[in-house]
């Protein structure tokens, strides 16, 4: 089925001038394809082409998180550092209290 991809690639490289002149080398190449493919191409029927080419129809194209994950990781680390600091302070305080009571 590479020929359909070739045709699509050539369509992508066809200038408006060529389209106006209506003399596309593509036209003759298209005629060699099965009728259903020609129809799908002519009507811009992407769903049908997806089926013919057996490609995935559901495609996700997001690539970008709204919040910077590196910044979030850093903030988490900072929070953990802060928690550790509080824990250590609490430990020191209770150790100090114990010493004072013992004394």
């Amino acid at each position: 089925m590479t020929s359909i991809i070739n045709i699509l690639e050539k369509m992508g490289q066809t200038t408006a001038f060529e389209k106006e002149r209506k003399k596309l080398s593509l036209d003759s190449e298209m005629l060699e394809l099965p009728l259903e493919v020609q129809q799908a191409l002519n009507h811009g029927n992407v769903e049908q082409l997806n089926q013919i080419l057996q490609v995935r129809a559901q495609v996700v194209c997001g690539l970008h998180p709204a919040e910077d994950p590196d910044q979030e990781d850093k903030e988490k680390d900072d929070e953990e550092d802060e928690d550790n600091k509080h824990q250590k302070l609490a430990q020191l305080k209770s150790a100090g209290d114990k010493l004072r009571h013992a004394g």
Partner: protein, 261 residues
């Protein structure tokens, strides 16, 4: 320098029309190509250029955090670099525009002592300037990821264009959805209403992906945003609502400077 190299290339927006000759050659000459494009047919087009093309699509799953998917994509590309291969990441549009994965993969590869770089591509932004007849230099142009615009207090200049990306998943804090509904967009509208009148015309834009399609250029009123149709490919373009306000103080000082010189 370690053996193994990473190049992230852009395939452009429209199949066949936008890919640069250099990006294409990188894809053809790579030991392994990882691909993430916006439709299945374009994926097959990239597959026709190299014998070892691996899709990054399986990393996405509805209900799974996209961030997790992104991190896995980075990891799988780097594993091949670490194995000493010439690796290409082929991403639709420009690989560095609203695209965390390629930037991150390149940064880590470099940190680990591998050669890594990016080859630009034609992005949705480039297409919208051409299709909508907008020049970012006329009034200025701000770009935000739509959710980021909602999560943070962004300083918006209503005299400039505002472009919101990933509008189809606006407000999804969990990063697990492939679309967000009307209630999310109502909140987005609230945030926009602070800067723009409700009857302001905005544009829902989708550049041509396959050469048999037409670009989507739908003008809607801001107030109709919640009930408008969005896909993952839709970009929201908000034209200026206010004329540019002269900075009189600065103009006065510049005039004085001119007189002195």
């Amino acid at each position: 320098m370690q053996h193994g190299r990473l190049v992230c290339v852009g395939t452009g927006m429209t199949l066949g029309a936008h890919i640069s000759p250099l990006s294409r050659r990188y894809i053809e000459q790579a030991d392994v190509v990882f691909v993430l494009v916006a439709d299945g047919i374009s994926e097959q087009w990239i597959e026709s250029m190299n014998a070892d093309v691996r899709s990054l699509q399986p990393f996405y799953q509805e209900g799974k955090s996209r961030l997790q998917s992104y991190k896995e994509m980075v990891k799988v590309m780097l594993a091949e670099v670490q194995a000493g291969k010439n690796v290409v990441g082929a991403f639709y549009g420009h690989p560095g525009v609203f695209a965390w994965v390629p930037h991150k993969a390149i940064a880590i590869a470099r940190e680990q002592g591998y050669q890594a770089h990016m080859e630009p591509g034609i992005s949705a932004e480039d297409c919208l300037y051409a299709d909508l007849g907008i020049d970012p230099g006329t009034y200025g142009c701000q770009h935000y990821e739509a959710s980021q615009f909602m999560f943070y207090q962004c300083t918006i200049n209503p005299s400039a264009y505002l472009v919101l990306w990933q509008i189809g998943v606006a407000g999804d804090k969990s990063l697990t959805r492939f679309s967000t509904g009307i209630s999310y967009r109502k909140l987005l509208l609230e945030a926009l209403q602070v800067h723009y009148p409700l009857d302001h015309s905005v544009i829902l834009y989708e550049a041509i992906g396959l050469p048999l399609q037409k670009a989507r250029i739908d003008c809607v009123l801001l107030k109709d945003l919640p009930v408008s149709e969005f896909s993952l490919k839709t970009t929201l373009v908000i034209p200026p609502a206010l004329s540019m306000q002269p900075n009189r103080e600065m103009l006065k000082r510049l005039a004085m400077l001119n007189e002195q010189n």
